[in-house]
C-alpha cells in the first residue's frame, strides 16, 4: 500500500489515529471496502453517510468491537488491529456507542464510576463532568432508565470522558433526539475539545457534521466517496457523495474522490 502521508503538504504532525484499507464483513456482506482515514491531534473528524453506508461499522471496528477482514488500525503509530476492545479503551480510544448503551440498572454516578474504573491520567473527573452538565449532580443517584434521551446521551458522553481518552469516538449522537437537544449536546463540543481531545464522530445529520467538523469524510456502501475540509466541499458535492449520484456536478473539484486514499489532506 502506498503511504499517503508523503503526499501531504504539511508533514509536521503524524496522525494520532490512522486506518489503512480497512475491509470489514458482516457475514457475507462487505460492510467496509478499503476505507482509509487519518485523524490528526486536535481534529474533529466527521464521517457522514446514509443509513447502511458503514459509518458505525467503521467506528465499532476502530473501537475493537468488529474484527476486520483486512487492513490496519494504527494508534499513535502502533498497530492496534488485533488489540482487544478493553485494551484500546484503557489505551485512550474511547467510544460513546450508538444508542447510548448506559448500564440501565446502575445510577448516573455509578455509570460514571464504571467509566472511570480504568481511567488514564488526565483532566477529566466525575466532578468535571458534573460541571459541564450542571443538572447531573442533583440527579446522580437516579437510575439512567429514568432519564430523557438527551440526558442519557450526556451521561454516555460523561462516562467516556472520565476515562480521559485521547481519541473520543462519537457514534450517532443525534440518533433519536430532538434537534434542539442535539444542538445543545454539540454545543458542548468546544468545552470538551479544549482539554486537548481528538474527536472522530459519525453523524447522519450532515449539516450538524459540517458545522462542527474540521474534516469530513463521506461513506457510501462501504466506500469513501468524498473527503475534505468542510470549507472545501460544496453542498452539491456532499449531496452527490451522500446519495451516490453522478459526480458530474462536482467535476473539476479537487475534493471529490472516488478512491479510498485520504490524499486530499493537504492544507
Amino acid at each position: 500500500m502506498s503511504e499517503p502521508a508523503t503526499e501531504r503538504a504539511d508533514n509536521d504532525s503524524t496522525p494520532l489515529l490512522e486506518v489503512r484499507d480497512l475491509i470489514v464483513h458482516h457475514g457475507q456482506l462487505r460492510a467496509l471496502d478499503r476505507v482509509s482515514l487519518r485523524v490528526f491531534p486536535g481534529e474533529v473528524y466527521a464521517i457522514i453517510g446514509a443509513n447502511g453506508a458503514g459509518k458505525s461499522t467503521l467506528l465499532r471496528t476502530i473501537a475493537g468491537l468488529h474484527r476486520p477482514t483486512d487492513g490496519a488500525i494504527l494508534y499513535d503509530g502502533k498497530d492496534m488491529t488485533k488489540v482487544r476492545p478493553e485494551r484500546r479503551a484503557t489505551g485512550g480510544i474511547v467510544m460513546v456507542p450508538e444508542g447510548r448503551r448506559l448500564f440501565g440498572s446502575l445510577t448516573v454516578e455509578e455509570n460514571l464510576k464504571v467509566g472511570a474504573t480504568y481511567a488514564r491520567k488526565g483532566p477529566w473527573t466525575i466532578e468535571r463532568v458534573y460541571e459541564i452538565f450542571a443538572w447531573m449532580k442533583d440527579r446522580r443517584t437516579q437510575r439512567t432508565a429514568q432519564l430523557s434521551g438527551g440526558e442519557q446521551q450526556s451521561v454516555a458522553i460523561g462516562r467516556a470522558l472520565v476515562a480521559n481518552p485521547r481519541v473520543l469516538l462519537l457514534d450517532e449522537l443525534s440518533l433519536g433526539l430532538a434537534p434542539v437537544i442535539v444542538q445543545r449536546i454539540y454545543a458542548m463540543l468546544p468545552q470538551i475539545l479544549s482539554t486537548g481531545l481528538t474527536v472522530l464522530l459519525v453523524e447522519q445529520d450532515v449539516s450538524q457534521a459540517l458545522r462542527v467538523a474540521s474534516h469530513i469524510q463521506c461513506l457510501l456502501e462501504g466506500h469513501t466517496t468524498l473527503e475534505g475540509r468542510p470549507s472545501e466541499v460544496t453542498a452539491e458535492q456532499v449531496e452527490a457523495a451522500y446519495f451516490g449520484l453522478s459526480p458530474a456536478a462536482a467535476e473539476g473539484s479537487e475534493a471529490l474522490w472516488h478512491g479510498s486514499t485520504p490524499s486530499s489532506r493537504a492544507s
Binding site: A63, G64, L65, R84, P85, E86, R87, A89, T90, V94, M95, P97, R101, L102, F103, G104, S105, L106, E110, N111, K113, V114, G115, T117, Y118, A119, R159, A160, A163
Partner: protein
C-alpha cells in the same frame, strides 16, 4: 402447634435452599449461564470438605475456611476456560456443556470414590443439639446456623454488589458486556470473579448440606440442583432476596406437605413450584434483573 412447628422448620430449611440457589441465581444473573452442574459442584464441595476434615482434623464447621477458597479458584478457572468457551458459542452450547460437566462429575465421583453416602460429622458440640419452644417446637441449632449463614451470605453479596468496585463492574457487565468493554473492562475476568463468588457459595451449600444430611455422588442432581431451581423460580430469577423467599416458600411447602403425609414432603414443594410457574412465571418478587 404441629403446624406452627412445620412452618418454623420450613422457614429454617428455606435458608439451606436459599444457599443452594444463590450461586445458581448469580451465575444466571451475571453471565446468563444456567449451570446444570450446580448441584454436583456443591457435592464436590462436600467431598472436598470431607477430605479436608479427614486430613487436617479441623472441625467440620471450620472446613469452609479451606473449601470456599478452593472452590472459588475452581470457579474462576472453569469460567475462564470451559464455560467461557461455551458462552462464546452460544446459550444452547453452554447448557449442553454444563450438563456434560454434571454427568462427568457424577460419574467421576462414582468411579473414583464410591456410591456410599457420607456426611460431615459435626461431632459432639452444641451445634448438634436443639432448643425447644413450648413442648412441640424443637429447633436444631444447626438449622438455625445454616439459616443465619444464608442470610449473612445474601447480605454480604448484596453489600458487595451494590457498594464495591468489583460489584459495580459485575452489575455493569450483566447489563451490557459491550458497553463495559468500551469502558476498559475485561468482561471475561469479571465473569471469572462472579463465578468464583458463585462457587464459594456453592461450597458453603455443599458443606451445609453435608452437615445437615447425607450426601452421595447423585445428591447433586436429584436434590440440590432441583431444590435450587425450585427456589430460584419461586423467588424470581436473578433476584437475591427472591432466592431467600423462594427457599423459604419451598421449605414451608415441603414441611406442610410432610405434616399432611410424610411421603408427600417433596411432592408438596413441587406442587407450589408448578403453581408459581403457572400463575406467576416471573416469580414472587417481580423485580428486574438483580441489582
Amino acid at each position: 402447634m404441629a403446624w406452627v412447628n412445620a412452618v418454623i422448620q420450613g422457614i429454617l430449611t428455606g435458608g439451606l435452599y436459599a444457599l443452594f440457589a444463590c450461586g445458581l441465581s448469580l451465575m444466571f444473573g451475571v453471565m446468563k449461564v444456567v449451570n446444570l452442574a450446580h448441584g454436583d459442584l456443591a457435592v464436590i464441595g462436600a467431598y472436598v470438605a470431607l477430605g479436608v476434615i479427614t486430613v487436617t482434623h479441623i472441625p467440620a464447621l471450620w472446613s469452609f475456611v479451606i473449601v470456599v477458597p478452593i472452590m472459588a479458584v475452581l470457579g474462576y478457572g472453569l469460567q475462564r476456560t470451559l464455560i467461557q468457551a461455551a458462552l462464546d458459542r452460544g446459550v444452547l452450547i453452554t447448557l449442553l456443556v454444563t450438563f456434560g460437566l454434571s454427568v462427568v462429575i457424577e460419574s467421576g465421583l462414582l468411579q473414583f470414590i464410591n456410591a456410599d453416602s457420607h456426611s460431615l460429622g459435626v461431632g459432639e458440640s452444641i451445634i448438634t443439639g436443639s432448643f425447644s419452644i413450648g413442648s412441640q417446637i424443637q429447633i436444631p441449632y444447626l438449622l438455625l446456623l445454616i439459616f443465619a449463614v444464608a442470610v449473612v451470605v445474601l447480605l454480604g453479596l448484596q453489600y458487595f454488589l451494590s457498594l464495591s468496585r468489583y460489584g459495580r463492574m459485575i452489575r455493569a457487565v450483566a447489563d451490557d458486556q459491550e458497553a463495559a468493554q468500551l469502558s476498559g473492562i475485561d468482561y471475561r475476568h469479571v465473569f471469572g470473579i462472579a463465578a468464583a463468588i458463585a462457587f464459594g457459595t456453592v461450597a458453603l451449600a455443599g458443606i451445609a448440606y453435608g452437615m445437615y444430611s447425607q450426601f452421595s455422588p447423585t445428591t447433586g442432581t436429584d436434590t440440590i440442583l432441583l431444590f435450587a431451581f425450585a427456589a430460584v423460580v419461586i423467588g424470581g430469577l436473578g433476584s437475591l432476596w427472591g432466592t431467600l423467599l423462594g427457599g423459604i416458600v419451598l421449605g414451608v411447602a415441603q414441611q406442610i406437605g410432610a405434616q399432611i403425609n410424610q411421603a408427600d414432603q417433596v411432592l408438596a414443594g413441587y406442587i407450589v413450584f408448578l403453581l408459581v410457574l403457572a400463575l406467576r412465571p416471573q416469580g414472587l418478587t417481580a423485580r428486574r434483573a438483580q441489582s
